[in-house]
C-alpha cells in the first residue's frame, strides 16, 4: 500500500495546478501569435485538437530528455548512454557521439542474459547461419522450423503445462489470444492495474469487461457473485463463460498477486483463470518457474498461463501454455498465429539455450547461481532502501522496486541528477501511473555484483537527499540509545 503524506499530496496538487496554469497561458499566447499566420492545411482537422495533447505538449516535453535515452551497448549491468542536446527547449533532441558509462538500473534484464553469454551466443550465431534472421512467412505457411517445435515443447515443460504455442511479440500475444477465447456474451474480470495489452485484448474481444480492485480477492468474489446473479446486461441471460485475468508481478507496483486466494475464488464460482507472467517467469521461484512455484500453486489449477521471453530470457516473443486441446484450438483460430510472421529463429534459439541454462541442462550450475543471485540482490537492495527512508513498494523476492517520487518536479530532477552521477534510472509518471503517484522504478538483475549495488545505493541516497524523497526516515538505533542515556542522566 502506498502511504501518501498529506503535505506531499497538497504540494503535488499545487505543482500540477501551477504547471497546468502555465501551460494554458502559453497556449493562449501561441493562439494569439498564430492568428495572423494562414493555416497551411486548409480543410483538414488537426491530428490532435485542443486539449487532447495538452499533457504531451506542456508537461511531458519539459522532461522529455529523461525518456527514450538511446544506448550504444548491450542492455547489461553497465551501459553506454548516448548524450543528447537540444536547441529548442527539449522539443527536438539530437544525438552526439559522446557516451557515458552508467550503471543500469532500468532494463528488464533479470537473469543477465541481455549481453553475449558464453553458452547462448555461439548457438545463436550457429542458428542464424543455418536459418537466417527471418523466415518471411507465417507459422502455418512454412514459418515453422524445428527450433519452433522444440521451444514449444521446452516452454511447456518449463512452465509445467502439457502444451504451449509461441508468438513473435508479447503484446500481440495478449491482444490476439483473448479475442480467440471469449467473444460477445462472455465476461472478462480483470485487475484494475492490468497492462495495456490485456486491456486492448479485452476490448477487441467484444465481451463485457468488469474490473475488480487491485489484488483484493474479497472484492473479486463480490463482483463474481453479483455478475453471475445478474447475467448479461439488459437481457439478463446467463453468461457464456467468465475469465479472470491477473498478472504475476505488476510492473508498476512490484508486488506479487495473491494467487492462491484468487484461484480458490475462481474455482468456487467456476470461472476460468488467465495468468500473465510477463515479469515473473524466470525471475522468481526457486527454479525460476515463476509465481506459481513461489506461492505454491499447482500449474494445473491455472487454466491459461501466458508469458514473454523479453524480460528474463533476453530475447523477444511470447508464449501461451495450457492444455493440449486449448493449444490445438488456438493454433487453428488465433489470428496472430495465422497472420503474423513467425518468431525469428535466432531469437528462438536464444530462449532454448537460456531455458537450458536455467534448468541446469547445459551441464553447469550457472542457472541456479543466477537465480540465487537475483533473489539475494533484490532482497538486499530493498532492505537497504527501506533503511534509508525511501518509500519503496513491492513484495519480498520481487526484482522490481518502485521508489515513490510524487511531485512532478522531482521526476526530471531525480533522473538528471542520477545520470550526472553515472546511474541510469527509469522514471514513470502519468498516464502509466495515477496522477499523484509518480515513481522511479528500479529493476535488479542477476548480473549486478555487490559492488554495483553498493554504488547504486550510494548514488540513490545522495540524490534522494538532494531531491528530498526520503519521506519516511527510519530513526537509527544510536540516536535511540543516546536519548535513553540522556533521560537516565
Amino acid at each position: 500500500m502506498v502511504r501518501l503524506p498529506y503535505f506531499t499530496a497538497l504540494t503535488t496538487l499545487f505543482s500540477y495546478g501551477l504547471l497546468f496554469a502555465f501551460g494554458q497561458m502559453r497556449d493562449l499566447f501561441r493562439k494569439i501569435l498564430d492568428l495572423p499566420k494562414s493555416k497551411k492545411v486548409q480543410g483538414y482537422a488537426p491530428i490532435c485538437l485542443g486539449l487532447e495533447d495538452f499533457y504531451t505538449r506542456r508537461l511531458f516535453l519539459r522532461a522529455q530528455d529523461c525518456f527514450g535515452r538511446p544506448i550504444a551497448s548491450a542492455p547489461d549491468a553497465w551501459i553506454d548512454v548516448v548524450e543528447r542536446y537540444s536547441n529548442d527547449n527539449n522539443k527536438t533532441l539530437h544525438r552526439t557521439s559522446n557516451i557515458t558509462k552508467c550503471l543500469n538500473l532500468g532494463s528488464y534484464n533479470y537473469l543477465g542474459f541481455a549481453a553475449a553469454d558464453e553458452y547462448c551466443t555461439p548457438r545463436v550465431i550457429e542458428s542464424l547461419k543455418q536459418y537466417s534472421p527471418g523466415t518471411c512467412s507465417v507459422r502455418v505457411d512454412g514459418g515453422t522450423t524445428k527450433l519452433h517445435t522444440e521451444l514449444e515443447e521446452l516452454a511447456a515443460r518449463f512452465v509445467g503445462k502439457p502444451a504451449a504455442i509461441l508468438f513473435g511479440m508479447g503484446y500481440v500475444t495478449n491482444s490476439a489470444i483473448i479475442p480467440a477465447l471469449i467473444a460477445k456474451g462472455g465476461l472478462i474480470i480483470s485487475d484494475s492495474l492490468n497492462h495495456n495489452s490485456i486491456v486492448n485484448g479485452a476490448r477487441g474481444s467484444g465481451a463485457t469487461v468488469r474490473v475488480f480492485q487491485h489484488n483484493t480477492p474479497s472484492h473479486l468474489e463480490e463482483v463474481l457473485r453479483e455478475q453471475i446473479a445478474e447475467g448479461q446486461p439488459r437481457t439478463h441471460r446467463p453468461w457464456k463463460k467468465i475469465i479472470v485475468i491477473v498478472e504475476g508481478i505488476y510492473s508498476m507496483e512490484g508486488e506479487l498477486c495473491k494467487l492462491p486466494e484468487i484461484i480458490a475464488v475462481c474455482k468456487k464460482y467456476k470461472a476460468y483463470t488467465y495468468l500473465d507472467e510477463a515479469h515473473s517467469i524466470g525471475a522468481i521461484g526457486k527454479t525460476g518457474r515463476g509465481v506459481c512455484e513461489l506461492l505454491g500453486v499447482d500449474p494445473a489449477d491455472v487454466d491459461i498461463m501466458m508469458g514473454t521471453f523479453t524480460k528474463s530470457f533476453g530475447s523477444c516473443g511470447g508464449y501461451i501454455a495450457a492444455s493440449k486441446e486449448i493449444i490445438q484450438y488456438l493454433k487453428h483460430t488465433c489470428p496472430a498465429h495465422l497472420y503474423g510472421t513467425s518468431m525469428s529463429p535466432p531469437a528462438v534459439q536464444q530462449v532454448i539455450s537460456a531455458i537450458k541454462v536455467i534448468l541446469g541442462e547445459d551441464g553447469s550450475n550457472r542457472g541456479a547461481q543466477k537465480l540465487a543471485q537475483i533473489r539475494d540482490n533484490s532482497n538486499f537492495f530493498r532492505a537497504e532502501l527501506h533503511k534509508m527512508g525511501f518509500e519503496v513498494l513491492g513484495d519480498e523476492d520481487s526484482p522490481v522496486m518502485p521508489i515513490m517520487l510524487y511531485n512532478p518536479a522531482k521526476i526530471p530532477a531525480f533522473s538528471r541528477e542520477c545520470l550526472k552521477q553515472n546511474v541510469a534510472v527509469v522514471t514513470v509518471a502519468f498516464p502509466a501511473t495515477p496522477l499523484l503517484l509518480a515513481r522511479a522504478r528500479i529493476c535488479i538483475s542477476a548480473s549486478h555484483s555487490r559492488e554495483d549495488l553498493m554504488r547504486g545505493l550510494e548514488v540513490l541516497s545522495k540524490v534522494g537527499d538532494l531531491v528530498g524523497i526520503k519521506y519516511f526516515p527510519v530513526e537509527s538505533e544510536n540516536s535511540h540509545a543516546e536519548a535513553k542515556l540522556k533521560k537516565l542522566d
Binding site: F113, V124, M169, W239, K331, P335, T341
Partner: protein, 385 residues
C-alpha cells in the same frame, strides 16, 4: 322549497364574494391590500407545491438475498474454453529444417518453396548475416526494455533514418512486430467519432486496428473507385471542410487477401478533392513495386508527400521482422507517445534492425534484383493464365 334553497345559496354566494373582496383585517403588506381571495390563492399554491414534492409511487425493489445468489451461482454452468476438437484442427504445418529460401528441406527432402514471402531473395544473403553476427556479438539478442526506458539502441535510430532517407520522407518510426504496426497506428490517429472509409478486402491486422479505433467505419467495395467515390460523397454530404472531425481513407498497396494493386493516383485525386487523409499499408509492395523498390508511390509517379501515413511490415521483402511507419514529422512524433504498440512493448531486437539496414542498402545498390523478380512474375502469369 326551491326558492328557499335558491335564497340560501345566493346569500351564501353573496357572503363568499363579499368576503373575498373585502380587505382582510385591513392589512397592507408592501403596498398590496390583503384581499380574501389571496388567502385561497396562497392555499392553492401550497397544495400544488406539496403535491410536486411528493415522490411518485414506485414498486419497492427487492434485492436478491445471499441464499438466492448462492443458488444462482451453484446452478450456473459455463461453456468450455474451447469447442470440441475436430479433425482439421489437429493438422500440423510442415516443419522446415533449413532456412526458408527458394529451396528448403522438409522431412529430409529438398523442396521448392512457394510459401514464404521472400520477394527479394534476401533469406540467406551473406552480407545480411554478417551484419547480424556483428550486431549479436555487440548487443546480444533482445533489447530488454521498451523504447522509452533504455530500449532505444543506436541501431534503431540508424534504421529509422535509413528507411526515411530511402523513401524520401522526413522521418520514420520502428515497431517490433509486423502486424502490430498497422493495428497500433490506426487507433493512434483515429479516435471515437472520426470517420474512416476503408476497403472491405483488407487483412485481419487492419480490421483489428479499425475495430480498436472505435471510429465510424464505412466500407467500399474492394478496389472499386466508383464505390470509393460514392462512399466519400456520402460521408461528406453538406460539409467539405472538416473543422473538428478527422477523416481517413485506409487501403493496402498490394492486398494480402486478393493480390490486387490499389490505383494510387485515383485515390490521391479523390482524397484531395474530399479532404481526407490517407493511411496506406505497404507490407507487400515495399521493395517490390516501383523502379527502385520504393513502393506504390514510385510505381504510379505520385509524390510521396501526398500519402499522409505509410506503414509496412518488414517481414516480407526485407527478410527480417518488425515494421515501420513513415510520414511527416508531426505524424511520426505523435506516435512516439500515443501508439500503444510502440510505448507499451519491448523494442525490436537490435540484430533485426541491423538486418533491415543491410537489406535496404543491398536493395539500393542492386536494383537488378527487381528486374529478375518481375521476370519471374511475368513467367508465372504467362504459363498459368
Amino acid at each position: 322549497m326551491s326558492s328557499a334553497i335558491m335564497n340560501m345559496t345566493s346569500s351564501a354566494l353573496g357572503w363568499f364574494s363579499s368576503s373575498f373582496d373585502a380587505p382582510l383585517a385591513r392589512a397592507v403588506v408592501f403596498g398590496v391590500h390583503i384581499d380574501g381571495h389571496l388567502v385561497l390563492e396562497v392555499l392553492l399554491i401550497l397544495v400544488i407545491l406539496f403535491q410536486l414534492s411528493r415522490k411518485s409511487y414506485k414498486p419497492p425493489k427487492k434485492p436478491l438475498t445471499e441464499k438466492e445468489i448462492d443458488d444462482l451461482c451453484e446452478e450456473w454452468v459455463p461453456e468450455p474454453l474451447h469447442p470440441p476438437i475436430t479433425e482439421e484442427m489437429v493438422v500440423e504445418p510442415p516443419t522446415l529444417e533449413s532456412a526458408a529460401g527458394p529451396h528448403t528441406i522438409i522431412d529430409g527432402k529438398e523442396v521448392v518453396n512457394f510459401a514464404s514471402a521472400n520477394y527479394l531473395g534476401l533469406v540467406g544473403n551473406e552480407k545480411i548475416i554478417d551484419s547480424c553476427v556483428d550486431s549479436l556479438e555487440k548487443y546480444g539478442v533482445g533489447s530488454c526494455g521498451p523504447r522509452g526506458f533504455y530500449g532505444t539502441i543506436d541501431v534503431h535510430l540508424d534504421c529509422e533514418t535509413r528507411i526515411a532517407k530511402f523513401l524520401g520522407t522526413p522521418d520514420s518510426i520502428l515497431y517490433s512486430y509486423g502486424i502490430s504496426t498497422i493495428f497500433s497506428v490506426i487507433p493512434a490517429f483515429c479516435k471515437k467519432g472520426d470517420i474512416i472509409v476503408a476497403d472491405d478486402g483488407v487483412n485481419w491486422a487492419v480490421q483489428n486496428g479499425l475495430h480498436l479505433s472505435r471510429s465510424t467505419i464505412v466500407y467500399f467495395k474492394h478496389n472499386d473507385m466508383a464505390s470509393l467515390q460514392s462512399a466519400l460523397e456520402k460521408t461528406t454530404k453538406g460539409n467539405r471542410r472538416a473543422e473538428k472531425l478527422r477523416r481517413y481513407i485506409v487501403i493496402e498497396a498490394v492486398y494480402q487477401n486478393s493480390g490486387q494493386v490499389a490505383p494510387l493516383d485515383e485515390i490521391v485525386r479523390l482524397k484531395e478533392k474530399y479532404r481526407f487523409r490517407l493511411i496506406m499499408d505497404e507490407s507487400n509492395s515495399f521493395g517490390v513495386l516501383g523502379n527502385s523498390g520504393r513502393g506504390l508511390a514510385e510505381h504510379y509517379g505520385v509524390p510521396i508527400e501526398k500519402v499522409d501515413i505509410i506503414t509496412a511490415g518488414m517481414g516480407n521483402s526485407l527478410a527480417t521482422d518488425g515494421g515501420f511507419c513513415t510520414g511527416s514529422v508531426r505524424v511520426v512524433d505523435h506516435q512516439r507517445l500515443s501508439s500503444s504498440g510502440y510505448v507499451f512493448s519491448a523494442s525490436l531486437p537490435p540484430y533485426l534492425a541491423s538486418a533491415a539496414i543491410s537489406a535496404v542498402n543491398h536493395l539500393e545498390e542492386n536494383p537488378a534484383i527487381l528486374a529478375s523478380l518481375r521476370n519471374n512474375i511475368a513467367l508465372l502469369w504467362k504459363c498459368n493464365l
